[in-house]
Symmetry: C2
Subunit: 278 residues, 2 copies
Amino acid sequence: MSGIQRLSLNQITTRGWTLAEAARGCADAGIPAIGLWRDKVAEAGGAARAAELVRDAGLVVSSLCRGGFFTAPLGSRARTAALDDNRSAIEEAAVLGTDTLVLVCGGLPEGSRDLPAARERVRDALAELAPFAGAHGVRLAVEPLHPMFCADRAVVSTLGQVLDLAEEFPVEQVGVVVDSYHVWWDPELYAQIARAGARIAAYQVCDWTLPLPADALLGRGHVGDGVIDFPPLSRAVAAAGYTGWIEVELFNQDVWDAPGERTLREVIERHLKHIAVS
Amino acid sequence: MSGIQRLSLNQITTRGWTLAEAARGCADAGIPAIGLWRDKVAEAGGAARAAELVRDAGLVVSSLCRGGFFTAPLGSRARTAALDDNRSAIEEAAVLGTDTLVLVCGGLPEGSRDLPAARERVRDALAELAPFAGAHGVRLAVEPLHPMFCADRAVVSTLGQVLDLAEEFPVEQVGVVVDSYHVWWDPELYAQIARAGARIAAYQVCDWTLPLPADALLGRGHVGDGVIDFPPLSRAVAAAGYTGWIEVELFNQDVWDAPGERTLREVIERHLKHIAVS
């Protein structure tokens, strides 16, 4: 459909659907791509079977969510397990035919207040994983998360901070995610998007709505329902050279409770109104 | 009492107390200073009477909370009212004998998504108010608020951003607040504290605790209950040259429900354990 050639559904948006249902839903709605989650891929029978389901629906996989969570202390069992798990995620992404593995880096380890050390371990993990990712044709897409998640989900909070990390590695191995929800407030946002250029591995959208819900994770609204000014943001991402997928990723209980077909109609309508016009 | 010479109680911490009760509570506990709120000052009979109550208790006023909220459109009635109200706040601070008026700048105006414009109006308001403040011996202490409050409370979110604004004005007219809760996550924090130097007008402390409560405003814990690493933060603020009050400011329903005397004992204990050691 005209105007949604670059639209992708991140499947968390239709959380109640299986991978097969989400793929069929996208195909029926004319959405050409889908961002997958590892738990849904596993549920579907693994990466090869999931790849087949997506291909049979005529879609492509825009990204895989997610690796990361590698801030456990060096030498700990938790860290070894995290790195092993990330290698599996890279292999799954390759089988799924996407070059983009989204990474949520992880918060402070239990009982720790040492933010600089946790950030250093993110760097170490990237150094360990980047060549492996590159060898699989997969790029690690590091996502800065909103600072309200700094303690428990991601010790990297701004695009500038993530670029400082990413730029230590080849551009085809480590990129960054621009997610409107996480970065919209940043006074440095436009400068850092311009700086990011070819490092932009994914552009994810959803809106910042008020009030924040009791579970701050679930406050993301449909594009247009909140305060984020999408046209200039989308133009900046385009001006930086990004021509890839625009993924709609909604964590929102009301959206999850709605029928998937209705959610997809809403997603398309908002995309045409607020994003495709940019 | 040794070790609490620089401790101040921001009176929101004992929200159930009147100004007179808070002043007496501090005096009894040996806390030498108090940060006042305008609604409590009004309740006490106005600035002159409040000044008397504080003086009679043998305390000094460390700051007045708060002015700001001046992002309404230029030329609007709301903006005129906000500027008038800020001038009143400056006059009250002078009567109270504090040189520090804390400013919370305000969020996006209702229905607006134009963050750059709202930020520009913060700058305009500072330009209008700074000389008036200076003439009253009061410094505007601009507080960056955590980015989760960007939409509804403060369109300025980082110390660097606030310093960019503050540096356009004389240092005795416009300073910045370093509040641990709002800035602890910032990857630029230590560099910006060093840059701030004599611009630091206030150092406020409380901790970031998890999970965030349903009302995100009320998530602040006693120093030591959360993830903020206070010794290096306090050392950085000291190294920047700040020798002023260290104000404990807790927005927390459990703390508000506790007897004030117990809260003050806790505040002192935490100060001695986590702050005074730095």
